[in-house]
Symmetry: C2
Subunit: 427 residues, 2 copies
C-alpha cells in the first residue's frame, strides 16, 4: 500500500539518498537546482557534525550545538523530502529501496551514503563495556559513564574500587582517541579539579592504548610526535604496540596484563555499513563497496556509494580516509554527475580527491595541522582548527552557540554540559 | 562499614540536606559561612531550573542551558560536600539518613527538600502514556515524542493515523500546561511550519484539558482570561470542566468522549515525595508534611521540611503554592535558623512568606504577571518574565547561552534543540 501511494507517476527523476551525514547531505544540497525529486532518508532527524562529537562526550558542548535538524537545513529546498526511516535493503533490479517503516520506495538514481560503524573485530560483548562514539546517544552515554565514575569514586570507601573508577581507558590512538584523551585530561585536571572533597580528580589515570607503534598513524611522523609529547605532558599514559585481548566489566586485558577500569571507550577500527551486502557488490577492506572511477557500483550505473561506505583509491592506489572532506567532495561529484545526466550532458571525468589537509586537536591551545604546503603545531594549529570547525558547523545558531561555549570554557576552564542524564534507561 | 568511615568524630555539627532543588540548594548556600559541615544529597548531579523545563520539552533550549552541576555551583563552599545518592529512609531516633548506595549517614540537623512528583490519582498505567515534566530525562523524552509524532505523520499514508499523530493533548491547565500549550503551538505554527512536505504542521491540534472551570486557577480572573484568550488565538483548544477518564496508547477518554492522540503530556496534580512516611509525621494534602511555624517537624526540633514536600499555611490558612520562591525563602529561613542555633543565638520568629508575585508565559511576546501592586499582561509581562528567568538562572554561562538561544529563536522562529534522541532505549 505504502509503496503504491508513494508512487504517483513521477514527473521528474527521483534521486534517493540514504544517509544524511556529510556525503549524503552535500549531495542533496547540490541537487537543489536540478529538475529531480530528491528523497533523503536517515534514521535520525539530525545531521551530526561528528568531528566534535567527542566534545559532547567530555561535557564541553551540548548535543544541539553539533547537530542540526535535517528538515530545517533543507527547508527551502522544495524539490527535497526528508524521511525519518531506515533502509534495510536495496532491490537493484526493481530499482527500489526497502524501508523499515515506509515499505518500498522506487528510485531512478540511488546514492548510498550510509557511513561506517565501529568494528569490534568479532567480539560481540565488547560494545557493552566499551561503547564507541558514533551518535548523540553514544556521546551522552559516554559522558554519563565518565561523570558517574568520578561521582562513584567520591562516594566509595573502597580504595581498589576508587582506583578502578578513576582509571579511564581509550582504545585506539587515531584522531578520536587522541582528541578524547586530551579532552578527558583537561576535564579531570581543570574542569573537575576543585569540585570534589574526597577524591582528587587530577589523580585520574587516562590511558590511551594503541595496537600500532605510534599515535595518529595517518599524520606525518613529526606531527604525530608532537601530539604524543603533548598528551604525555598532559598526563595521558600512552601504551603503544599494545593489543587489547579482553574487555569486560572490570576493565581490559592488554598485552597479557589486566588493567582495572570502570570506563573504557572504543576509538579503534571501523567497518562499513551493509551497503555492499545489499547490492551483492564486491566488498573491500572493512565491508566497503569497491566503486568505479565515477563512484557508481560496477554493473549499476545509476547506483552510487560515497563516504565511509565506499572504497575509493587515490592516485597512489591508497584508499581515501573516512573523513568529512572526502565524503563531501564525493557527494558534490555525484550530485553534479546526476545533474549532468538528467540535463543530457553526461560527463566522463572520474572523481578525484583534492586533499585540503588534516587537522587534529589535542587540547587547550594545542593542535596539529597537516596542510598541503605547510605543517603546523601548537597554538596556531589550534586557532586554525577552531576557525575551520566553527566555519563548517551547519547553521548560524550552532556556530554562535559553540563559539560562546568555547570562549567561556577557555576563559574559565569550566564545562557547561556536565549533566548525567539517562540513568534510568541505561544498562 | 560505610557508615563508620563517613563518621570520624565530627568537629562541627553536620547539616544533611536532601534534595538540591531551589529549597535545598538555597539552604546549602546560606550555610556557607556557618561553622557546620554541610552534606547535600541529590539523585542527580545537576540543579535543575525547573520553570524552564517546558522549553527543553519543546526544543527551544538544551538541557545544559537550564541545569548546572551542583558540585560546580558549590565548588568554592569548602564546608560543603555533595553526594550523588538517593535517600531511602530516615531514622529520626538514631539521627541518620539511609542512602541507597552509601549506607547510613548521621546528622545533627536534617533538611528534607525532596520536592514533589506527578500524581496520577492511582492510575498506574497512565505515566507510561502521559509522561510528566519533572526531570531532564522527562523533558527529552517528551521532546522525542512530540518531534517523532510529526515525523511519523509525514511518513504514514493512513489518514486516521495521521490525524492521531497530529493531535497533542496536555492534561492540566496550570502554569506548566499553559506554557507547554503555548510553546507547542508556536513549534507547530512557526518553527516546523515550512519543514515538511506531506503534512502541514500548522494543522496540528493542540488540546489543553482542564478538570476545573478555568486556566491558571491560582491567578486573578482577569489574568487567567487574558491567558485563555491568548491561547485560543494561538489555536489551542481549551477543554474546561473536562475530566480525563482514561489514558492509553490510542489517546484519552475525556467526559466520556474518546480523543485519539499519539502524544499526551501530564501537567496535572502533584504529590509530595515520601518525606512524611520516612518520618512517620502527619501528612497533609498530597502527602506533604505538616510542619511547625519554624518549618521543623513536630516532635523533631532538628528536622526541617521545606519546599513542595512541606505543608505551610499562609496568614489566611491557605497552603503556600509549590513554586520556587516559596522553596527558596524556606531554605534561607531554615539555614539562618540553624546558623543561629549553632552560634547559640536561637530565634523564635516563625517563617513568613513574602509574596513577590507570580508570572506565567503563554508565548512569543505574551505573558501575565500578578505582582503585589500591579497586574500586567502581554508584551511588558513577557519582557519581565524573560528578565526574571534569565536573572535567576544558575551560572553566568547558562544565562548567556539562554539569552543567545532565545534571541535567535525570537528573531527567526527557529528551534535550535530539535533533536530526537534516546530512541533505542525508549518504550
Amino acid at each position: 500500500m505504502s509503496a503504491a501511494s508513494t508512487e504517483p507517476t513521477r514527473s521528474s527523476p527521483r534521486v534517493v539518498i540514504v544517509g544524511a551525514g556529510f556525503g549524503g547531505l552535500t549531495a542533496a544540497q547540490h541537487l537543489a537546482h536540478t529538475p529531480v525529486e530528491v528523497v533523503l532518508i536517515d534514521r535520525h532527524n539530525y545531521h551530526l557534525f561528528q568531528p566534535l562529537l567527542y566534545q559532547v562526550a567530555t561535557a564541553a558542548l551540548s548535543p544541539a550545538d553539533i547537530a542540526a535538524p535535517i528538515r530545517h537545513v533543507l527547508r527551502q529546498q522544495k524539490n527535497t523530502t526528508m524521511l525519518l526511516d531506515e533502509v534495510v535493503g536495496v532491490d537493484a533490479a526493481a530499482r527500489q529501496v526497502e524501508l523499515r517503516e515506509g515499505g518500498a520506495l522506487g528510485f531512478d538514481y540511488l546514492i548510498l551514503a550510509t557511513g561506517s560503524v565501529y568494528s569490534y573485530f568479532g567480539h560481540a560483548d565488547w560494545p557493552r563495556h566499551a561503547p564507541g562514539l558514533k551518535s548523540i546517544d553514544d556521546a551522552t552515554d559516554i559522558r554519563r559513564r565518565i561523570l558517574l565514575a568520578f561521582e562513584k569514586a567520591e562516594t566509595t570507601h573502597d580504595a581498589d574500587a576508587q582506583q578502578r573508577l578513576m582509571t579511564f581507558i581509550l582504545v585506539g590512538a587515531g584522531p578520536t582517541g587522541v582528541e578524547m584523551a586530551g579532552a578527558l585530561a583537561e576535564l579531570a585536571r581543570a574542569a573537575l579539579a576543585e569540585d570534589f572533597r574526597r577524591i582528587n580528580p587530577r589523580a585520574a589515570r587516562i590511558l590511551l592504548i594503541e595496537a600500532g607503534p605510534k599515535v595518529l598513524a595517518g599524520f606525518p611522523q613529526k606531527l604525530a610526535d608532537f601530539a604524543a609529547d603533548s598528551l604525555r605532558r598532559m598526563g595521558v599514559e600512552l601504551l603503544l604496540d599494545t593489543t587489547i585481548e579482553a574487555i569486560d566489566a572490570e576493565g581490559v586485558i592488554a598485552n597479557g596484563k589486566r588493567i582495572a577500569s570502570a570506563t573504557v571507550v572504543w576509538c579503534a577500527g571501523v567497518e562499513a555499513t551493509p551497503a555492499a551486502r545489499w547490492l551483492g557488490a564486491e566488498a573491500g577492506r572493512g565491508g566497503t563497496v569497491k566503486v568505479a572511477p565515477d563512484l557508481s557500483v560496477p554493473g549499476h550505473a545509476d547506483i552510487f556509494v560515497i563516504g565511509d561506505a565506499a572504497l575509493v583509491l587515490d592516485r597512489h592506489g591508497k584508499p581515501l580516509p573516512g573523513v568529512a572532506p572526502v565524503a563531501k567532495q564525493e557527494g558534490r561529484y555525484v550530485a553534479k554527475l546526476i545533474a549532468a545526466r538528467v540535463m543530457g550532458a553526461p560527463t566522463a571525468r572520474p572523481f578525484r580527491y583534492r586533499d585540503q589537509g588534516a587537522l587534529a586537536t589535542i587540547g587547550r591551545s594545542s593542535a596539529i595541522a597537516d596542510l598541503p604546503f605547510i605543517k603546523l603545531t601548537g597554538w596556531l594549529a589550534w586557532v586554525l582548527w577552531g576557525i575551520v570547525h566553527i566555519y563548517f558547523l551547519i547553521g548560524f545558531r550552532n556556530r554562535l552557540s559553540v563559539f560562546v561555549n568555547w570562549a567561556w570554557a577557555w576563559l574559565t576552564y569550566a564545562r557547561g554540559a556536565r549533566l548525567i542524564t539517562g540513568e534510568k534507561r541505561a544498562d
